[in-house]
Every structure is written in structure tokens, then in C-alpha cells.
């Protein structure tokens, strides 16, 4: 457990679409090994036995139409064109 793991914050900032400043990147790269070392505490637990979770199941709704609230949803959209949500270019 002594080998500290390295997480490359840059990789996960790309996957999670959050740009990080160099300073943020440095802080995270410094903190992550300690946090992971703590998380690795779980490797001590024997989880070979399968435990069935008792969860509720089969919660469905009926196939009936409610009135659309589209106008109030569009009210909070920052950039619109006509009734379209306006996004940036794709490529």
C-alpha cells in the first residue's frame, strides 16, 4: 500500500469537460495520491461473498400524456433562436 498512485488530472478534466488552470492541475495532482491511498483502505475488505441488496423494484408510470410545460422550460434557456436552443458549432 506504500506505492502512491498517480492520477493524471488532465485526462479526467478532458473526460469531464472541465478545463483546469495550471495551478488547479498542480494542486489536484498533489492531493490525489493521498486521497486515493485513503480510498485503497477498501482493498482490506473481503468482498468475495455476494450479498443481495434488498431494493424496491418495479416502479412504473402509466402511459398518459401530461400538458407540455415547454414554454416555461424555454424561459430559462440562455441562448435561443426562434424556438430552438442555440448551441455552438459542432466542428
Amino acid at each position: 500500500m506504500s506505492d502512491k498512485k498517480i492520477i493524471d488530472a488532465k485526462k479526467y478534466s478532458e473526460l469531464s469537460k472541465i478545463e483546469l488552470s495550471d495551478q488547479e492541475m498542480n494542486i489536484l495532482n498533489e492531493q490525489f495520491p493521498d486521497i486515493l491511498e485513503y480510498f485503497d483502505l477498501l482493498s482490506q475488505v473481503d468482498t468475495s461473498e455476494n450479498i443481495d441488496d434488498e431494493r424496491i423494484s418495479n416502479i412504473f408510470r402509466e402511459d398518459t400524456i401530461d400538458d407540455s410545460i415547454a414554454d416555461s422550460i424555454l424561459d430559462v434557456v440562455p441562448e435561443k433562436k426562434d424556438r430552438f436552443v442555440k448551441g455552438p458549432r459542432m466542428m
Binding site: E19, I56, V76
Partner: protein, 446 residues
């Protein structure tokens, strides 16, 4: 109304120092008559309120006004409550001190240099500082109980599925519940009665028999079986906290409760399991904040990829970014089995261990927080030490069981809370024991 208006002005004045509220309501007259008529309430800013700005204490939602009410908010309105405003918290409920807010820290009314706890710190400070009669918080890993303990009030995290999450902006959605916060157990029970209502818009909400919690506060506790896990008094526990909590447990024993010290080995893994699961879920739950449909929109970008990255860079604070990064890591291929899956398996073990305890005992008791309220900024630069504050609270969230924090004493003029847990949907037991503690602890909360 005029009395309420002048009271409202006083609250706004007090808020200048406490900073319990992010947004005040327009104090619209609630004409509904119900159990909460005449009561004022602060609502944590992670809970959606139609027409009233809901920010999650984040720059991302600085100007977001939801077009709908959370189910609990509709219920409060029907019961005649007067909503005063939206309470400050850690951004997206990620924190244990309410220092991670884009709208400034909330101060503890007992000591303005100390944190109120978190993440529902604004809710707790509002009640403790007389800025509201009642408050709603949300609790993913202790976010109701921690600030309740630090601010010397009562806070209850309900059983997962008792209260609808519809309208609660998700952080760790398999863990969290909205819950009541109040000065005393009676008001807490009353508020729980009002918000525990089946809602078919939340598929995880359970349709259970309605219970009048306020009618069970004085039930006899003699012969009630109470377990005290050694793990809740671990090495990081402040001796002053331990002493006060143990004294209270002794008093419960002298009231006829049967107290037994036990071991729950798996508790020591709960914090790591909790953080892996909560962060993983958060990384997905917070993906929707890209600035297209609502929220912060930074303007021109060369393509969608850059726009999303810019919006999210500018909208999220550093703690939120840290947790999204770690959660993204824990779910990514190559690490998924080692972290996410492992944490879920450990969660099952913990849940199972608690279940076994509740076959024999009615309640589990220990401290809510391992320490007294800490100084502002004290843990801000060391995230792991901040995470450690949740060591005694997270297991209830993992197991989905209800848990309450009730003030049980003071040290250095700072409040100490005792935590009680019970089996699924046994909130009645928590409130019953909590009420007894109020009677035997030897002081009143003003």
C-alpha cells in the same frame, strides 16, 4: 403581516453577519391553513422553488429560476408555511463547513469565527440564529446532522425513500434525502410529518403508511435496546465530545434503556466507500450543467467542446471540480472494479451489518461529529481532513437508514450533538429517544 414584515427586516439585518441566506423570498402571503401556518422556514438552496432563484450555492446557477417546485416545497406551501428564502450551503452540497459556497461562508451563530458545519450550514444557522423557525436541509453523507450538531439544533436524515427527491438537485442520488431541521424535536417531528408524502415522480420514493411522529414523542423508552458501536469513538474523536455523548447515553440507561457496547467492524470502511460512491454519482449528476439549457453561459467559443469546458470551468468551484475529477476517475475503465464496484460491495456489507444489529437493537447511538465546530479556514486546504469530519455520519447514508442529531451538551460554549440511528422507516424511535434526551440533558435551546 406587518409583524412578519418587520420580523423579516430584522432577519435580513442579522443575515448580514451570519450569511445564512443566499436569496430572500418576496414573502408572499401564504393563505393555506395547515400544520405549518404561522411558521417561517428556510429552504436549502439545493431544493427547487418555482419562481425563486435556486443556485446550489454555485456560480453555475447564479441566475437560475426553476419553473417548478420540488415536491417538498409544494407540501410546505399546502401546509401554510411561510418561505423566507433560500439557505446557503456548500456548492452542490459538497462540503462539511459551508465554506465552499460561491456566495460566501455562513458563520456559526454560537461563534462567528467558526463554521456552522455543512453542507446545510445556512439552514442550521438560520434556525440557530433565529432567522427562521424551521429549515429544510439535504443530507448525502451527514449534511443535515453535521450542521445541526455544530449549530446546536435538531436535524434528521430520513430513511432513503421516505421523502421525495423530486426537485432536489442531485449530488449523490443513491444516498441523499431531504430532511427537517428545527430548534426542538417536536418541531422536527412536525416538519417530517409534513414532508414525508409518497410521490410517484420519484421512483425511489416508497409508499409507506403515514405516521404521526408528534404523537410518539413521549412513548416509554424503558427496555429500549441501544447499541453503542466502539467504532464511533475512534482516534479522531475529541475527548470532550466523547465525554458529553457518553454522559447522555448513561442518562438514557438510567431512564430504563438497555445499553450495550458493540463492534461494527465495517464502519471503518464507510467513509472511503461513501466518498467513492458519492463522487462517482456526482460526476454523472453534474454532467448536465453545460450551460445550453440553463445556467451559466460564457458566450462565444470555437466549438461545443470548448463551450462546455469553458462553462464548466467558470461555473464550478474548486471542491466541485475535485469531486467530479475523482468520480470520473472512479468510474473510468481500468479503475471501475477497483473503486466503484468495490465501494458498492463494501456498502452492501455495511448495510447488512446494520441490518443484523437492528435485529437485536432498537437504536444505535454515538456522537454526530467527532469534533467541536472548527475555525473558519481550518480545514480548507486539506480536503482529506475535511472529508474525515463525516466519519460518523456517512454509514447511515450508505445503509439508507434514518438518523438524527440532537443537542446533548456544550463544551467551550460550543454545542455537541448526539446521533441516533434506527432501522428503515423507524423515524418514530429516533424522535422518541430525541425527545427523551431533551428532557434529561438539563438545558433548553433558546
Amino acid at each position: 403581516m406587518s409583524q412578519l414584515s418587520s420580523q423579516f427586516e430584522e432577519i435580513k439585518e442579522k443575515n448580514q453577519t451570519i450569511n445564512a441566506y443566499i436569496t430572500f423570498s418576496d414573502l408572499s402571503d401564504n393563505t393555506s391553513n395547515g400544520k405549518l401556518s404561522g411558521k417561517t422556514i428556510a429552504i436549502k438552496d439545493t431544493i427547487s422553488t418555482a419562481g425563486l432563484r435556486t443556485t446550489c450555492a454555485s456560480k453555475m446557477l447564479e441566475n437560475y429560476i426553476p419553473p417548478f417546485d420540488a415536491h417538498v416545497v409544494s407540501l410546505l406551501k399546502n401546509q401554510g408555511a411561510t418561505i423566507l428564502g433560500k439557505a446557503n450551503c456548500d456548492e452542490f452540497a459538497m462540503g462539511s463547513s459551508t465554506e465552499h459556497s460561491a456566495f460566501g461562508v455562513t458563520r456559526n451563530p454560537h461563534d462567528l469565527e467558526r463554521v456552522p458545519g455543512g453542507s446545510s450550514g445556512g439552514s442550521a444557522a438560520a434556525v440557530a440564529g433565529n432567522l427562521a423557525d424551521l429549515a429544510l436541509g439535504s443530507d448525502t453523507g451527514g449534511s443535515i446532522r453535521c450542521p445541526a450538531s455544530f449549530c446546536g439544533i435538531v436535524g434528521l436524515k430520513p430513511t432513503y425513500g421516505l421523502v421525495s427527491r423530486y426537485g432536489l438537485i442531485a449530488y449523490g442520488n443513491s444516498l441523499e434525502q431531504i430532511g427537517p431541521m428545527a430548534k426542538n424535536v417536536h418541531d422536527c417531528a412536525l416538519l417530517l410529518e409534513c414532508i414525508s408524502d409518497y410521490d410517484n415522480r420519484d421512483a425511489t420514493c416508497v409508499n409507506t403508511k403515514k405516521i404521526k411522529y408528534t404523537e410518539h414523542l413521549d412513548d416509554d423508552i424503558s427496555n429500549m435496546k441501544i447499541a453503542v458501536p466502539k467504532e464511533f469513538f475512534g482516534t479522531g474523536t475529541d475527548p470532550k465530545v466523547e465525554e458529553t455523548v457518553r454522559n447522555t447515553i448513561d442518562k438514557l440507561a438510567s431512564e430504563g434503556a438497555i445499553v450495550e457496547e458493540i463492534n461494527i467492524e465495517s464502519i471503518k470502511y464507510s467513509l472511503a466507500a461513501y466518498y467513492i460512491i458519492a463522487m462517482s454519482e456526482a460526476s454523472s449528476n453534474l454532467a448536465r450543467f453545460d450551460g445550453l439549457r440553463y445556467g451559466l453561459h460564457t458566450g462565444k467559443s470555437k466549438d461545443w467542446n470548448e463551450l462546455f469546458s469553458n462553462n464548466r470551468k467558470s461555473g464550478f468551484g474548486f471542491e466541485v471540480k475535485r469531486r467530479i475529477m475523482l468520480g470520473t476517475f472512479a468510474l473510468s475503465s481500468g479503475y471501475f472494479d477497483e473503486y466503484y464496484i468495490k465501494a458498492q460491495k463494501v456498502r452492501s456489507i455495511i448495510t447488512n451489518d446494520f441490518k443484523k444489529i437492528f435485529d437485536k437493537f432498537d437504536a444505535i447511538v454515538g456522537p454526530t461529529m467527532p469534533t467541536l465546530p472548527f475555525k473558519l479556514g481550518e480545514k480548507l486546504t486539506n480536503p482529506l481532513s475535511m472529508y474525515m469530519s463525516d466519519i460518523d455520519t456517512v454509514s447511515a447514508n450508505l445503509a439508507g437508514i434514518p438518523s438524527i442529531s440532537v443537542p446533548c451538551g456544550y463544551s467551550d460554549n460550543l454545542p455537541i450533538g448526539i446521533q441516533i440511528m434506527s432501522s428503515h422507516f423507524e423515524e418514530k424511535t429516533l424522535l422518541n429517544l430525541g425527545s427523551k434526551i431533551e428532557q434529561i440533558r438539563g438545558f433548553d435551546v433558546e
